[in-house]
């Protein structure tokens, strides 16, 4: 990340220095600039570069690999050890922290056969000679540490103490030999049949932070965090198989043993994932835009989804257009879209320059499947791959911003999402025209056992609590489920989305867009924290929003304003009572419409628990709405926001109850079978 900035700085300074050379050759600043250029060039290596070689054995479901890792200490502190993520060990045994805390644990234990557990086994780790280090085998120095929960069964973090510290600015090169056992698909990695989706698969360095400490968390429930680097990867798979991976394919060589070697290369990315299968069909397309860099698109599609390729491409292009126009350019110039295999549990995931979508064999036009997931994951190329926040701590930064943007793009480019229900184990879809998914995503979250109260958003994501057993809510598809999601989902997706919509509507899109733009350009190829985003908001909006973050990010308040009552006091005096049911305070507008069609708008600061607006007017009040434009997207009950003198509730209730009755009549005939 630093190298990237240095690179830009260098070329800028070269321009400057050329000019300087003509005019003032003897100017001492010229020499200073030259030194700066030289030091910038020296630090061009990314913090962690990986040269990986891997060989897939589909029959044994293993990948044998070796990693040549070059790590540079970019901090001002010496590093006395190296810490690595061994993510695959999250499914090594049922006692791992991941399976202990995970809701899916029982399912996994039930379905997996003994040989279907995962493992990553490091057989050798040595320091390579050079950079002031002598060759040294550190295999026996490998330790497994549990910095987060002390669970001795968890082997997802590996540590080696170095013979001497890596000083600031120094580089160390190491060689790691490892072998992974590919599990049944779990948490977006694994294999089903001859479909291998391989992610988080190699020993990956944590991030040595500016504070001089490793951020190398155990793998419990979040996504990931790693350093920018160059990935130079050679993958050996059976001949005839198709491989998709992070980066651009450099070459493809057929080997004598019937295998083929696929070479991929990518600079300036934080991870490398790949997929291999003989079942893919390959399609190519290209995103072009008058002001943005073109992007080559490559789609690997499963057989049962042939015919849906244009839906994937359209969605990816739409996302590249909107994100590009809103934030800035997509820097990599290419994107690989993987259509995941059925039940491979690898859909809807982002990796640098590679995303996974997800669709079904029977899919209806207008269903927004796979469009929505494709837009979301493409969006992650901006918020995750380029602006690479720490997903262990601030998962909401990339998920929330991506979710918020996706919702906005979907609405603008694809319109409201109709409700689609799937029957018979999900095989048969039915689309309901005229019934749309809610535009008020907070609706239904406001019960006493609100999901929004599961945890406080500011809690580090890896520490978010589990799902509440009694929660019940509408999920993203408009359907319902008995158990609500865990605090991780609520606080990384749902709530930040609501928070950002509210902020956008409060500030206006123009200002909010420049917030997004500033945040993106300032934190490109860096690792921002939540406070960095807040600072950008304050700076661009020219206003301190601490009051807002305190109520949203730093608390579990819910927001709920309502029209309580409208009373006629006689003599044309009418009063409107408003109430604040939630703990959250936000200024709201009130719109009062009279029978003579006149409209009055008032502002309520929303501070007190209730308020009253009096109107002296002959014409009776016809309609009252609090927050009529739905600016406060965080409002958990939208129904109580309005009051009408002559509600249609009775006839509406009859109409819908009658539909229900016909369904019941139908059901009764099924019961008659058992007579």
């Amino acid at each position: 990340m630093f190298a990237s900035r240095a690179c830009e700085a260098r070329s800028r300074r070269q321009e400057e220095s050329r000019g300087a050379h003509v005019n003032t050759v003897r100017d001492p600043t010229w020499i200073v600039l030259l030194i700066l250029v030289a030091s910038a060039a020296l630090s061009q290596a990314w913090a962690a570069d990986y040269k990986l070689e891997a060989r897939l054995d589909p029959a044994a479901r293993t990948v044998s690999g070796s990693a040549h890792i070059r790590w540079s200490n970019k901090t001002t502190f010496a590093a006395s050890d190296l810490q690595f993520h061994l993510y695959y060990n999250a499914w090594l045994n049922p006692q791992s922290s991941f399976l202990n805390s995970n809701r899916m644990r029982e399912e996994a234990l039930k379905q997996w056969r003994p040989n279907e557990w995962a493992a990553i086994d490091v057989s050798r780790l040595k320091i390579l000679p050079g950079n002031g280090f002598a060759e040294l085998d550190l295999t026996s120095a490998i330790q497994y540490i549990q910095p987060d929960d002390g669970n001795p069964h968890d082997r997802t973090v590996m540590k080696v103490i170095l013979p001497r510290p890596v000083k600031p600015g120094e580089t160390i090169e190491i060689q790691v030999e490892f072998k992974i056992k590919v599990p049944r698909p779990f948490a977006r990695t694994g294999s089903r049949g001859e479909y291998f989706f391989i992610a988080q698969w190699f020993p990956k360095l944590g991030v040595f932070e500016k504070t001089g400490a490793w951020n190398c968390r155990q793998f419990i429930q979040t996504e990931f965090f790693s350093e920018f680097g160059t990935y130079d990867v050679r993958l050996v798979v059976p001949g005839g198989w198709i491989v998709g991976a992070t980066g651009r394919q450099q070459s493809h060589r057929q080997n004598k043993d019937g295998t083929a070697t696929h070479h991929f290369y990518q600079e300036q990315v934080i991870d490398f994932a790949w997929v291999a299968s003989p079942d893919f069909y390959e399609f190519r397309d290209r995103f072009e835009h008058p002001h943005l860099k073109a992007v080559d698109l490559r789609l690997l599609l499963m057989l049962d989804h042939l015919g849906q390729e244009s839906r994937y491409f359209t969605a990816a292009k739409t996302a590249l257009k909107y994100f590009g126009e809103w934030l800035g350019e997509y820097p990599y110039g290419h994107l690989t879209i993987i259509d995941p295999a059925y039940l491979s549990n690898s859909g809807g995931m982002e990796y640098p320059t590679l995303i996974t979508g997800g669709t079904r064999w029977l899919n209806l036009p207008g269903s927004q499947v796979p469009e929505e997931v494709t837009v979301h994951e493409t969006g992650h190329q901006f918020f995750y791959a380029v602006v690479a926040n720490n997903e262990f701590e601030d998962a909401w930064l990339d998920e929330g911003l991506t979710e918020y943007s996706t919702r906005k793009i979907m609405r603008e480019a694809f319109g409201s999402a109709p409700v689609v229900r799937r029957y018979f184990e999900g095989f048969i879809p039915l689309l309901f025209e005229g019934i749309f998914q809610s535009d008020h995503p907070a609706s239904g979250l406001g019960t006493f056992e609100s999901e929004l109260k599961l945890d406080v958003m500011a809690t580090p994501a890896w520490q978010y609590g589990p799902a509440a057993r009694r929660g019940r809510s509408a999920d993203a598809t408009g359907l319902t489920r008995v158990y609500g999601p865990g605090a991780y989902t609520v606080n990384s997706y749902t709530k930040p989305d609501l928070m950002l919509i509210t902020l956008e509507r409060h500030l206006g899109w123009g200002k909010f867009r420049s917030i997004l733009q500033t945040y993106f350009s300032r934190w490109r190829f860096k690792h921002p924290r939540a406070e960095d985003f807040f600072n950008v908001v304050h700076e661009v909006a020219g206003e301190d929003f601490s009051w807002f973050w305190n109520q949203t990010y730093r608390s579990s308040h819910v927001f709920d304003y309502s029209v309580d009552a409208v009373t006629d006091l006689g003599n044309g005096l009418q009063s409107v009572h408003l109430r604040r049911w939630g703990e959250g305070v936000f200024p709201v507008e009130v719109r009062v419409e009279f029978s003579d069609a006149t409209v009055v708008r008032e502002i309520w600061d929303g501070q007190s628990r209730w308020t009253r607006f009096d109107f002296r007017k002959k014409s009776p009040i016809r309609l009252v709405e609090v927050d009529p434009d739905g600016k406060l997207a965080l409002d958990v009950n939208y129904t109580n926001n309005s009051w009408v003198r002559k509600p249609a509730s009775k006839s509406a209730a009859r109409k819908w109850a009658l539909k229900w009755a016909i369904w019941l009549q139908n059901l009764l005939e099924h019961f008659a079978f058992f007579s």
């Binding site: 089903r192 049949g193 001859e194 479909y195 079942d279 049962d304 295999a341 059925y342 064999w361 229900r421 029957y423 018979f424 184990e425 039915l430 309901f432 025209e433 019934i435 809610s438 609706s443 239904g444 406001g446 019960t447 019940r472 809510s473 509408a474 408009g478 309609l623 709405e625 009950n637 939208y638 129904t639 109580n640 926001n641 309005s642 009408v644 003198r645 249609a648 509730s649 009775k650 006839s651 509406a652 209730a653 819908w656 109850a657 009658l658 229900w660 009755a661 016909i662 369904w663 019941l664 009549q665 139908n666 059901l667 009764l668 005939e669 099924h670 019961f671 008659a672 058992f674 007579s675």
Partner: protein
């Protein structure tokens, strides 16, 4: 069929009544949730998903089964799915209770139906009541007995088949192939349900024709008859199923859009729904009558081969006398 006109209406009205009474609770629940809000206007014109999300989290009892997607094909698919996977009895306790009550009403009137078809003559109200009362204890025993078989299908066979198909398909990456496996599973379940259904129907018919009081004997004789004439039994059942599917197919063409708030639209959709319910009752009765005729002919053939017994006459007189 015209002979059972009164019975069809009786059954239909009990269906309507059993659906309309709980409907009032659901209606009240929806109305109080809407209150004086604009959501009422939205719901009158179409639907309001934000309101629904709130309603759904708060709704209890029967109201919790309300869903905007219970329209035309949605209602059909949901019902059919619930029937095949046994969820019918798990939707809600209230619905299960109402459903069992409706099944009981069918059980009660079955005696009258079958008497009408076997006697080939309309019955007076008193005759209908006495025929129903006479066969009810036996039919109830048969229903309970068949319930044990259905329970075994849902609680024992279905989960094992599901486990089996998921084991067989666990490495498949083509959804279409997995769908074929799943379809196979549902077909097996459907066949098992149908076999039990036909067997017990035949037992009821045999019991009426021969005035049997023993469930076991009726079942044994019905099984014997069906086993000796498997082709005709299957053919008849298949034809009946096809007629049923035809009505289902017609009904599935109703739009999945919420109704417009016009009397015409509401009436048309309501009428279509009622027509479908009537058609289902009719198909069920048709299956009784045609199966009764088939059993009748089986028995007549078998009796005729035994000399000296004027088969048909005996049945008629016996049944009518009681």
């Amino acid at each position: 069929m015209h002979r059972a006109k009164r019975l069809i209406l009786l059954i239909y009205f009990s269906n309507v009544l059993l659906a309309l009474i709980p409907m009032l609770f659901v209606e009240e629940s929806i109305q109080s949730s809407l209150g004086p809000s604009r959501a009422g206007d939205h719901l009158a014109r179409g639907f309001d998903p934000a309101w629904y999300a709130e309603f759904r989290t708060a709704a209890t009892g029967l109201a919790s089964t309300f869903d905007a997607t219970l329209l035309s094909a949605g209602a059909l698919l949901k019902g059919l799915e619930a029937f095949l996977n046994g969820q019918l009895f798990k939707t809600s306790a209230g619905i299960t209770l109402i459903g069992l009550l409706y099944a009981l009403i069918w059980t009660w009137w079955s005696g009258a139906f079958l008497s009408v078809y076997i006697l080939q003559a309309p019955l007076s109200r008193d005759q209908m009541l006495s025929a129903s009362a006479r066969f009810f204890p036996l039919f109830l025993r048969l229903a309970i007995l068949s319930g044990i078989f259905y329970f075994l299908i849902y609680a024992y066979l279905l989960p094992r088949l599901t486990e089996f198909t998921s084991q067989q398909t666990r490495n498949l990456v083509d959804e279409r192939v997995v769908f074929l496996w799943a379809s196979g599973k549902w077909l097996v379940i459907l066949l098992c349900l149908a076999t039990i259904g036909v067997w017990f129907d035949y037992a009821k018919i045999v019991a009426v024709i021969q005035s049997r009081r023993s469930a076991a004997l009726a079942l044994i004789q019905a099984l014997g008859l069906a086993m000796r004439n498997p082709g005709r039994v299957a053919l008849l059942y298949l034809s009946l199923t096809l007629i049923g599917l035809l009505f289902l197919w017609f009904y599935s063409f109703l739009p999945t859009k919420p109704w417009e708030q016009t009397w015409r639209g509401m009436t048309a959709t309501f009428a279509a729904g009622q027509f479908y319910i009537l058609s289902r009752i009719w198909v069920r009765l048709l299956s009784y009558s045609s199966q009764a005729a088939l059993v009748h002919s089986f028995l007549a053939n078998e009796m005729r081969s035994e000399p000296g017994v004027p088969a048909t006459v005996t049945f008629r007189q016996e049944t009518a006398m009681r």
